[in-house]
């Protein structure tokens, strides 16, 4: 094979990484290069430096070290039986690319993943070497997210945590059955074992920082994972409870959901459909309900259709929950607790905080609420304000058409 140019390699190895949903560059400890050495900073909040026409943000240089892989997972474009062009970066090429892009303010840092070549340890070692070179030789202070290989040796994974802001291990699929069928060489026992080890390493790191200020930061932005949606038979209820269990057991920062897209040279066992983007969106919303609105996983599940286990696609899950449990509404915005206010569909965390602050000084009227929220029309049926008492919800049969968004273009093309 002829030598590939750097841009050609980048095209192949970024293309291969585009199916990974995670992109966040937040949660890192604050750093800067003010002391006149090195380059880069992190402010705690990531910056999205560009957006692609698929609506996703670009904050990190997200690439694979190589797209060759000894595994044959059906949902993955890089599986060993796939016909895609293969390429491989050297450690220095990735380091230079990262620095070149960073200096031009194109990116916040690097998100490095890789197909498994040779052995898991060998692959992990290469990944770690990139991070080590960036941090030690170039004193790079931007964001680094490393994907760890579940079967790699413990000390390699530890090193990854020392150089990276965030580490992640993909659970791949929401059901064990799906994993067994579509990724027969991976095992949930090994994946979860690696996540458990990572959790305790992160906790040990935090503990050490408490005792000794000089102790190194270990993956300060925590660990995350990703699962593919729509490649196996998992229902939304299955996914919600799986994600909740992962948050609980491994103290994850984020669970990413990636709608399975038809991939070039797709394995024959996969559904050839447009990716279920709306479903993915609803799952992210259900994730928010748990993380920010204090819903219990079983409450989110209750918003799903009991027969099919699927969340409705035409309305968001918080609204679906409210319509199902109408006895909680309308809720008095001047009296309800924070926890209950968070359950009002259409009110976000910011609006709830603003309501709590404002109502210490005045009785809130509908107008006041209108100034604090995006759309008072949508929340009106769910609240009582000083000058507003709606008809009891249960009596309003035509509520859903009033609240539903106009169909978006996405659905016109959905198959």
């Amino acid at each position: 094979m002829a030598q590939l140019s750097l841009a050609e390699k980048l095209t192949i190895l970024a293309d291969a990484a585009k199916y990974d949903a995670s992109c966040a560059s937040s949660g890192a400890k604050r750093r800067n290069s003010r002391d006149g050495k090195g380059i880069g900073s992190t402010t705690g909040n990531g910056i999205c430096h560009a957006y692609a026409p698929d609506g996703r943000c670009i904050s990190l240089l997200k690439i694979l070290l190589t797209n060759s892989c000894i595994f044959d997972c059906h949902y993955c474009i890089n599986r060993s039986s796939s016909n895609v062009r293969r390429a491989r970066f050297t450690v220095d090429e990735v380091v230079d690319l990262t620095l070149d892009f960073y200096r031009r303010n194109y990116i916040e840092g690097l998100f490095l993943s890789s197909g498994i070549i040779n052995t898991p340890n060998y692959t992990m070692e290469q990944i770690v070497r990139v991070a080590k070179t960036l941090r030690e030789d170039h004193d790079f202070r931007g964001y680094i997210h490393l994907k760890t290989i579940p079967d790699a040796a413990a000390d390699l994974v530890t090193q990854a945590g020392l150089y990276a802001d965030r580490v992640s291990i993909n659970v791949e699929l929401p059901t064990v059955g799906g994993l067994r069928r579509l990724a027969p060489e991976k095992s949930e026992v090994r994946i979860e074992g690696a996540m458990a080890k990572m959790r305790s390493a992160i906790e040990d790191g935090k503990d050490a920082r408490k005792r000794y200020r000089s102790a190194p930061h270990f993956a300060p932005a925590g660990q995350s994972t990703q699962m593919i949606i729509g490649a196996d038979a998992a229902t939304d209820q299955d996914i919600v409870s799986r994600a909740a269990a992962l948050y609980e057991r491994f103290d994850l920062r984020r669970v990413y959901y990636s709608a399975f897209s038809p991939i070039p040279d797709a394995s024959a066992v996969l559904p050839l459909k447009r990716p279920p983007l709306m479903r993915e969106h609803r799952l992210y919303q259900s994730d928010w309900m748990i993380r920010f609105y204090n819903f219990a996983p079983h409450e989110v599940s209750a918003a799903a259709d009991p027969a099919t286990g699927m969340l409705p696609l035409d309305i968001d899950p918080k609204l679906a929950w409210a319509l199902k449990f109408r006895e909680h509404f309308p809720m008095d915005v001047n009296r309800a607790s924070k926890n209950m206010l968070l359950r009002i569909p259409g009110l976000g965390v910011k609006a709830v905080d603003a309501i709590l602050a404002a109502r210490r000084w005045q009785k809130l009227r509908l107008d006041d609420i209108g100034r604090l929220t995006v759309s008072v029309r949508k929340i009106r049926p769910f609240i009582i304000a000083a000058d507003w008492t709606p008809v009891v919800l249960a009596d309003q049969a035509n509520l859903l058409p009033m609240l539903r968004d106009k169909p978006v273009q996405l659905e016109l093309f959905a198959s």
């Binding site: 970024a14 380059i39 560009a50 026409p53 031009r104 069928r181 996969l270 100034r371």
Partner: protein, 462 residues
């Protein structure tokens, strides 16, 4: 009327000093004219005396940080709005907490706009490398909406301390030489032009990381409005990427369909069967005993699809073992088809029934149930890749085509499926069991056998 001259559009300190002394003697907001630079424009205005030392004024810290950023907004009323708010919170400090307040909302809107602009500058500034060695510098051109360039300098200094850089803008420019920050006059776009070979590599990255199967241009525009595009190298690619997306996606699908199956044999149907054991895609799993999955060689040339398992199939976990199964076996024999060479499956994999006393009476699956189960049928077909599919009954026909059709009108001629496979529709064997007279049953049976034989003959002839 008093006129106050501030040094610059973002002169927070100037505003602060003046506002303090004016507020100390409670000059109302409408009596003050705020202006930037030069001589007072208002003929009747009198320039306020330079700030005299006033008694310390206690304002909430939140107000100072709010004002510091709101001053950066382009709105000419910002000085006056902030001053009015200052007067108010001197008497009612809590009004800063009342976010439902109209006056505060207006100021917060200005604040939000500034914050967003600051954030977008951090995101969308694009440096170009110029010069080499000691002369190496990075230059960027940015068009901010508000007077944020100076306020944003610290961010770039902290991030790019060891680089020498300049950010030029129509509202002023900043320069960092590695040690000190210098400010310069407004600049022109062409001062930041130049070729940077890394831009080509960056553009290659930008187009490769985009997934055409997920086109959502509105989501992109919401975060990256067009006004920023002209100063970002990668955005020139967007129209082409959007225009080509459908085509690329179609290509992805077509390629995938055209490819022969490589190397997934037995393991995969077994995996599918295993996964289907815990299928919850429709509610039929609840009352049923177990999932009844398809059976047969994984490379069978013929796939036959029935309706759904019956009472005996549900208990045995095997397809076509009950009374209809016996008719089916007889018909295959008569048609000269070896059952062992055929992959046999059902459109719906769980037994649907209505309990009647101790008996479970078969009930017809509805369209929702059939469509939910297509998930499995499609994948069985994708793995086995039969040359011929025979659908028995309307349920099976629906599972195959996604459309409702009547057996009587569809039988007797081939149906070409989306992937090019030939499919034939015939009756379901259980239909033969329900016919009232023996004569009718015999007639229907031979017609059924003829259908099977005819389909296979066409396959042989092809």
């Amino acid at each position: 009327m008093r006129a106050i001259c501030l040094d610059a559009e973002d002169d927070f300190e100037g505003w602060r000093v003046a506002a303090r002394s004016l507020a100390a003697i409670r000059i109302p907001a409408h009596e003050i004219l705020w202006q930037v630079g030069g001589q007072p424009a208002d003929l009747f205005g009198t320039v306020a005396s330079p700030a005299t030392a006033t008694a310390p004024m206690a304002v909430p810290r939140d107000f100072v940080s709010l004002a510091r950023q709101v001053i950066l907004n382009r709105d000419p009323e910002r000085f006056s709005l902030l001053y009015a708010l200052l007067l108010r919170i001197l008497d009612e400090p809590h009004s800063l907490q009342n976010r439902a307040d109209r006056q505060l909302r207006r100021i917060e809107a200005l604040h939000r706009s500034v914050r967003r602009d600051i954030h977008k500058m951090r995101a969308f500034v694009r440096f170009r490398e110029v010069g080499e060695g000691k002369a190496r510098r990075f230059v960027a051109w940015f068009e901010p909406e508000h007077h944020i360039v100076r306020a944003n300098a610290a961010f770039f200094v902290e991030r790019f301390t060891t680089m020498r850089w300049s950010i030029l803008s129509p509202l002023g420019s900043i320069h960092w030489d590695g040690e000190t920050l210098a400010e310069g006059p407004p600049a022109q776009r062409n001062q930041a032009m130049g070729d940077d070979p890394v831009e080509v590599v960056w553009k290659a990255y930008y187009s490769a990381i985009f997934n055409p199967a997920r086109l959502m241009p509105n989501a992109m525009l919401k975060e990256m409005p067009k006004k920023y595009w002209k100063n970002m190298p990668e955005t020139a690619l967007i129209p082409g990427m959007i225009a080509g997306a459908r085509e690329r996606e179609r290509g992805m699908l077509a390629d995938a369909r055209a490819l022969p199956v490589k190397g997934y044999g037995a393991a995969t149907i077994e995996g599918l069967r295993e996964e289907a054991r815990s299928c919850r895609r429709c509610p039929l799993w609840r009352p049923a005993t177990q999932t009844v999955f398809g059976e047969g060689p994984h490379d069978a040339r013929i796939m036959i699809i029935g309706e759904q398992p019956g009472d005996q199939e549900d208990q045995a976990g095997k397809a076509f073992v009950g009374p209809a199964g016996q008719v089916f076996d007889r018909a295959l024999l008569a048609a000269g088809i070896d059952r062992a060479s055929v992959y046999v499956t059902n459109a719906v994999k769980h037994f649907k029934f209505e309990p009647r006393g101790k008996r479970r009476i078969h009930a017809r699956p509805n369209v929702g149930e059939i469509d939910a189960c297509r998930w499995w049928v499609d994948q069985e077909r994708a793995i086995v890749r039969p040359k011929l599919v025979i659908a028995m009954g309307a349920t099976a026909a629906r599972a195959l085509t996604g459309r409702t059709m009547s057996v009587s009108s569809a039988r007797g001629r081939p149906l070409i499926l989306e992937d090019g496979t030939a499919a034939w529709i015939t009756v379901h064997p259980s239909y033969l069991l329900r016919l009232p007279s023996e004569a009718e049953a015999d007639e229907a049976f031979s017609q059924y056998v003829a259908d099977l034989r005819g389909a296979v003959a066409k396959l042989e002839a092809a």
